[in-house]
Symmetry: C2
Subunit: 320 residues, 2 copies
Amino acid sequence: MHPLAERLSNQDERALAKAISLVENDAEDKLELLKDIHPMTGRAHYIGMTGSPGAGKSSLVNRLITYLRTLNLTVGVVAVDPTSPFSGGALLGDRVRMAEHFTDPGVFIRSMGTRGSLGGLSRTTKETVRLMDAFGFDVILIETVGVGQSELDIMKIADTIAVVLNPGSGDVVQVFKAGIMEIADLFIVNKADLPGVPKLLAELESMLDLVKHDAPWRPPIVKAISVQNLGLENVWKRMQEHIEYSKASGERDARRKTSLEREVIEVVHAEMMKKLVEREEAEEKGWVEEVTSGSIDPYSAAVKLLQDYVGGLERKGMGR
Amino acid sequence: MHPLAERLSNQDERALAKAISLVENDAEDKLELLKDIHPMTGRAHYIGMTGSPGAGKSSLVNRLITYLRTLNLTVGVVAVDPTSPFSGGALLGDRVRMAEHFTDPGVFIRSMGTRGSLGGLSRTTKETVRLMDAFGFDVILIETVGVGQSELDIMKIADTIAVVLNPGSGDVVQVFKAGIMEIADLFIVNKADLPGVPKLLAELESMLDLVKHDAPWRPPIVKAISVQNLGLENVWKRMQEHIEYSKASGERDARRKTSLEREVIEVVHAEMMKKLVEREEAEEKGWVEEVTSGSIDPYSAAVKLLQDYVGGLERKGMGR
């Protein structure tokens, strides 16, 4: 067993931090660690929270953590901040949040920024969620800014997906266009003391009529004013109702199965990519040079690489 | 040679439409077609145009087409519309635009909507660009709504990337956060008759100081009012300057090489995914069921699939 897996099972918080770094750095023993912690996962409830920047998601998440702690639930948080690598936003956000829950061992917060690599952020985020699950948190909150495909992709690991909106922001159209409407289980209208709430509610209801009119679960809409600590009890109540519904209906199981399937595909893809890079680096005139110099077209090169992958695998004797 | 490749080399417009459909449907003979047209590509100049929804991109593209036609340049357009599959936006947009250039054989417009599949839109878009290039258009315009990772990814095939902004929209911060600032070669301030132009220009310049202060090419900022047909000559002049710069500096070659490299990786990935699906479908109890029933963890399953891929390839005798 991977030593970090052992330490995670003993709820060693420093081991969790180390394990997340290992996943972020895509270390050699990552798959081994993930394999070993897999039997320890499946107990936590994953809650995704998304919404446009400025919707007050972070403050809402912060207050929700505090509320969940009063119920004696432990909470892991992964905050995905897909800003330009330039901004360093992830680190700053981390520190600001940490301040409030720093001394509480029942809370663990980690921010993820975009750090290179094809689809890297999405995979790292999901793997971090798995690690937190294995550690034993009751609830894992996954916070993203809901715009692009990769954020949508991250959200799909969640058992319950909450979309945070503001009155007067015109968010509904954006949410609809981004395809978030279809995956939402719950809407939270935050900053509900601002003008425009009735209009937003009406817009949401008519969008829901369109998208979810014959769905077995119609996402409820909850109002909150997170900075005044209002509405959080209701938010959690609705989330719990969704949890109960999804367990009873088999929806949760179905989603979890799809997530596992997707995870297999992502690992296959990532390992294949590593092979391609290794191969390019090992050869004097590699496939990149062959393609870019025009001595082979990209499609023939791809077919050849797929074929030659065979040899590489046999020589290395990879597998169980 | 693939019959469509032959017909494309004869500038058969119906063959182009057919070839694009073939690419969209991910047909069996797709790689063969792309391989055969590869030697016919490389002559066109690819221009990416991105910006937030409502920036007036479509109208600008439309007017630019008209302007380029007065210079006797032929134009292919791929308009990427990543709206929810629900909206049917792509088709509608297509028809509206087509109306203006319908009878002109020197213009070919195709819209791409999101239709399922992992990273599918990005790949289909790029392959469509290659087909248009092979057909012989002088300029290929690639229009996207610049928000997510997959749109950024699409943009990277372009030789010249123009970002369209509006005064008073607060777009600059979004563009910066989305990582578009770093890849822009040119900024177009459209709707330049609206208030807020000096503020937008100042914001842009200070962002450029930050991001591009020692870059060899500092992206120029051009004002336009596309609905009044103003500024298009200037837009094209700046685009041409960038083309000249990027040819002379080797930047264009470098980008094109990186694109080819990325294309190889995408093909390998896509073919691998197809194998996984085929395998799952061929077996009575496939890997999906094994993973979702819990009889194997996803990481061991991935390693096993990579290993077993060997056999599948050998049996089929894929490759050159």
